[in-house]
């Protein structure tokens, strides 16, 4: 590369991308630096007596959730794609809906259903005079945690695998049928191997969500990395050890991602042709029909319908008490902060994606990888890193102000800036992936055509590139917005004093043992997410046509 080649790389796009990237990497650096700092006595204690428990619990939950979500997600995807059974078209969409219920809401809803004063035990006692053994109805265990994660996270695997099967498998499955293989056989010898990449992608998303979760494990009192980081930080007031835990967690995440890469390798099965011939579902006969229907309906029932109905019932119960002016402020807070953060994320994502697309090189490949890293850093780790960073920043601002004799200074860590900053780090990857794939789909020739007609990269960006990927921008917006709206750990620990969102308020009610009062906030989250998920899939469907 000669010098003008280097100059060509260093343009406005590059500089803006580097700045955006710096924000993303900074907290990670804070955490990793602390990992190598000298240890204190407390950390030795944690490492010796507590860390093994955290690791054991976290790994058990991950492993069990990973296996169960894979089984449920892929089997549902297979049934919905390949067989015709009652209400198939309804379930095709409905099976995504559990994604609208954040696991922490699912967790307290199920606890509320199953506990001593819950609807099941009350009915059994009052109607049938049966008092049950509480151990069978206690969901606040590690198995219960796995149960909750499985129910509300399987859609990640279901949607990815279903899309893959729908687009890619028809000729292979049809060929296998012609060659005389039975369905069961085809599922294990053809479908599982070819959709391996899609399934692994889905599972790693599920595992990232599990590691990120704070609400479920905190409520159920399970000792995992997330809860340990916060209890060390707030309970023991030991920031250094909390950062060390966060660093250990990040290394675990990096290990998972590396493993995913290794397992996936170069085996990306997809057709060279873009012509997609969807698989025609096959009619099922006799009891098979009802067995499949029963299975699918049961999953939908326990993962969406039952918790949803319970939330509606509680909302009705507490509506007058909770539906106040204060509640409107919660909705406004949630929507406005999510909106601002989403817009910032989309601007960053567009700039970085356009830069990596226009100037492909090893450098931009690294940038692209790092951009997506934030999503794999669990909320607990980001929260503590961001606070540490903002403490340093405020201290620095104060020192500068003192030196210049400015008097009153601006304190960043008491404002929404800190929270929005954390959102951007964590969710940039979601916006970026969606926009990057949008760019990939339209290719570069429109951009090149525009430049051949005398427009520079910036004008081309606004006049051609953005209108061309409108659909991808829209779906990026929806995905990021949903995630921020229901986000819990970051919001819980970084929200300014006197500022709450629907998610944190619901969690606060639940922590105060006011499960019923939390229902309204929860149902608003579920309804908004559900609606947006529906719009998102409509957008995708329209684009596919």
């Amino acid at each position: 590369m000669n010098w003008y080649a280097i100059k060509r790389q260093l343009n406005g796009w590059a500089i803006l991308s580097f700045i955006a990237l710096l924000f993303i990497v900074l907290p990670g650096i804070v955490v990793l630096v602390e990992l190598f700092a000298p240890v204190n006595e407390n950390w030795q204690h944690i490492r010796e007596y507590l860390l093994p428990t955290y690791v054991r619990n976290t790994l058990f939950i991950m492993l069990a959730t990973g296996v169960l979500t894979t089984v449920i997600g892929t089997s549902l995807a297979w049934f919905v794609t390949v067989y015709e059974f009652p209400f198939r078209r309804f379930f095709k969409w409905a099976l995504i809906l559990p994604l609208a219920i954040p696991p922490y809401i699912g967790a307290y809803t199920y606890h509320g259903i199953l506990n001593y004063t819950g609807v099941i035990q009350t009915t059994l006692r009052n109607e049938f005079g049966i008092t049950v053994d509480q151990t069978y109805f206690n969901i606040m265990t590690i198995q219960g945690t796995v149960f909750i994660f499985t129910l509300f996270l399987y859609p990640y695997i279901y949607t990815i695998t279903r899309a893959f099967l729908h687009n890619q498998s028809s000729s292979m499955v049809e060929n296998a049928r012609i060659l005389g293989r039975g369905s069961w056989d085809i599922f294990f010898t053809v479908v599982i191997p070819i959709s391996r990449v899609a399934i692994i992608g889905g599972v790693s998303l599920v595992l990232m969500e599990v590691l990120n979760d704070y609400g479920v494990v905190k409520y159920f009192g399970i000792q995992t990395f997330s809860t340990a980081i916060f209890s060390t930080w707030f309970g023991m007031k030991d920031t250094s050890s909390a950062l060390k835990l966060a660093g250990t967690l990040m290394i675990l995440v990096i290990a998972i991602l590396t493993m995913e890469r290794l397992v996936r390798g170069r085996k990306q099965f997809s057709y060279a042709t873009t012509k997609v011939k969807p698989l025609k579902p096959r009619q099922l006969n006799g009891w098979h029909r009802y067995a499949v229907f029963g299975y699918v309906a049961t999953i939908f029932g326990i993962a969406f319908l039952i918790p949803f109905v319970q939330l509606v019932a509680w909302t009705v119960l507490t509506f007058e008490q909770v539906f106040t002016a204060e509640f409107f402020r919660l909705v406004w807070n949630t929507v406005s902060v999510a909106f601002i953060a989403t817009v910032i994320i989309l601007v960053f994502a567009l700039i970085i994606a356009n830069y990596t697309r226009l100037f492909p090189s090893n450098m931009t490949r690294v940038i692209s990888k790092v951009t997506t890293l934030g999503y794999s850093i669990p909320g607990a780790a980001i929260a503590i890193a961001v606070i540490t960073l903002f403490l340093l920043l405020d201290e620095w601002v104060l020192n500068v102000a003192l030196a210049l004799d400015l008097g009153q200074t601006f304190v960043f860590r008491t404002t929404l800036i800190m929270l929005i900053f954390a959102y951007v780090i964590r969710f940039l990857a979601i916006g970026y992936n969606s926009i990057e794939s949008g760019f990939e789909k339209v290719g570069k020739s429109f951009t090149e055509a525009s430049r051949m007609l005398g427009w520079g990269t910036v004008q081309t960006f606004f006049r051609v590139d953005i209108p061309m990927i409108k659909g991808a921008i829209m779906s990026a917006f929806i995905l990021v917005f949903i995630d921020i709206m229901k986000e819990l750990p970051l919001t819980l620990f970084l929200q300014p004093f006197n500022f709450s969102t629907l998610a944190t308020q619901a969690f606060k009610y639940v922590s105060d043992e006011k499960i019923h009062e939390a229902a309204l906030a929860s149902i608003v989250i579920v309804l908004m997410s559900g609606l947006l998920i529906f719009v998102f899939h409509k957008v995708l469907d329209k684009e596919a046509d």
């Binding site: 055509a449 005398g454 427009w455 061309m468």
Partner: protein
């Protein structure tokens, strides 16, 4: 010479071998040159290098006395004044025919712009389709829009990448005659790439045979009534 290309070298990122190994050519004003070669001969890459869409490892490209690239400068595509018709036309799907043609005319005044759009629509005979979107046009019509769009800013050089590959055979014959007439009528210096010898003979004044990133041979076609043996051949 109107277009002068000297010792162009290029390799794609990560590739060991050079795709283009010392390509040189001179083209007079108004000449239509065809680059003919099999797929993988590097013919489309040469077009992209001339357009400025790829950066050469070394070599000089001069168009109309303007040094587009040499060892110490690289002019971005938007400043080169080269028009290009893409293989898939790359018509902006969110703009009508008229808006597509108008797109490259931002340096003109509003009045000139309107006149030029009218002129181009008449030239390619698409006035009645001006408000259609690209997907509402046939393949041949799309190609004419792409041509009008590329010619509208009066480029000093027009390059066409496989202009007939997306058309069916019957259409192909008619269009290449029309195209030649149109290019001669506007006096546009043109380089186009094809893998079809018949296309090259029908449209070009000169055919340049490419193989392995280099010129194999050059011949003047029947079209070139004023055969000029003075044109240097770099073989």
């Amino acid at each position: 010479m109107f277009v002068q290309i000297n010792d162009l070298h290029f390799s794609y990122k990560g590739a060991q071998a050079e795709t283009i190994k010392g390509f040189s050519i001179s083209i007079t004003k108004g000449e239509i040159v065809s680059l003919l070669g099999d797929s993988g001969s590097g013919k489309s890459t040469i077009l992209r290098l001339i357009a400025g869409l790829e950066m050469p490892n070394q070599g000089v490209v001069v168009v109309n006395d303007c040094v587009c690239c040499d060892d110490c400068q690289f002019m971005p595509p938007e400043q080169r004044g080269v028009g290009m018709v893409f293989q898939d036309y790359a018509l902006f799907p969110h703009m009508t025919v008229e808006k597509n043609i108008r797109f490259g005319l931002h340096k003109l005044s509003r009045k000139e712009r309107n006149e030029r759009v009218e002129e181009m629509l008449t030239l390619v005979n698409l006035s009645e389709f001006r408000h259609r979107y690209p997907y509402e046009l046939s393949g041949g019509q799309q190609q004419r829009v792409a041509l009008a769009r590329a010619l509208a800013p009066k480029p000093s050089l027009l390059i066409l990448d496989e202009p007939f590959s997306n058309l069916d055979t019957s259409l192909q014959h008619r269009i290449r005659d029309d195209l030649r007439r149109l290019l001669k009528q506007t006096g546009t210096t043109t380089i186009f790439v094809t893998h079809d010898e018949e296309d090259a003979e029908a449209l070009a004044d000169r055919i340049v045979y490419l193989g392995e990133g280099k010129i194999k041979k050059q011949i003047m076609t029947e079209n070139n009534k004023t055969f000029n043996p003075q044109i240097p051949c770099f073989v």
